[in-house]
Symmetry: C2
Subunit: 153 residues, 2 copies
Amino acid sequence: METLDEIDKTILRMLQHDAKVTTKEIANHLGLTISPVYERIRRLESVGFIKQYVAVLDKSLIDKPITTFCQVSMRYHNEAFIEKFEQEVQELEEVQECYHMGGQVDFLLKINIRSLDEYHDFVKYKLSKIDNIGVLNSTFVLKEIKHTIAYHF
Amino acid sequence: METLDEIDKTILRMLQHDAKVTTKEIANHLGLTISPVYERIRRLESVGFIKQYVAVLDKSLIDKPITTFCQVSMRYHNEAFIEKFEQEVQELEEVQECYHMGGQVDFLLKINIRSLDEYHDFVKYKLSKIDNIGVLNSTFVLKEIKHTIAYHF
DNA sequence: ACTGAAATTGTGCGAAC
DNA sequence: GTTCGCACAATTTCAGT
């Protein structure tokens, strides 16, 4: 019920590379008819293997060319402060990703913005306003070498 | 020709949250008919605003529960070595993302794998085999706080 | 679980304003 | 740049095996 056979895996592999492949194309590729493939896709969606279908946009064209990684360490490490930080980060539109990390750094944030000016404002007026932040260290992406949403499995 | 009006932006915002919204739904939301919306989507695809449509999978369910960030610094910084590294990273299936960074660290890699054992093997047999790597520093994701593919614009 | 087919809905495109 | 309408294709459902 929660395991995948090779047919399921093929379906998932195809969909994560191109969500627009038709059920028919997948079925042909598998040597099946449409119906079983259709029902498997429905199942993979409802069980949660497929979380969502999205269009991936070009971030430079929509005017968010700059990516930075921001390492944040808290001053005090109690539950209340950490939870507060996690909540506030959700609201920050510039934050594309946020991870609670092991090691010296508590959180790693991936930020996308229009300009360095905007990043300055983001740090000054938004990020640093959050309580209990100790160290804050930003590094800038010079070039994106690889970025894939599809997993290899 | 390469600028976006508010209609285009609305279309892109809807598609990056749900690639399965129909042209009709977008048209209704905008108070337009299907055709103009259809043609705008085609244009946004061909001009490159929309790079691809993908299904987003649950990484734990497909057995890649562990995410690590790996900071890599090169020993010597000449063009040939850097290009070699960038090429080899493309081939590594475990590497989800790779960025050339400003600052002390040259590259930041985001890795997804099944187990710590597998990470050990990855570093030992794949990553460290690449020539000219100096420092290599791994940090583990304890919890994913936020992760969105959609940009706020 | 898979087949085949029917009903429904969406896509893709031409003509016209 | 938008509307309308039509032919085609894809989705969704269902009886049958």
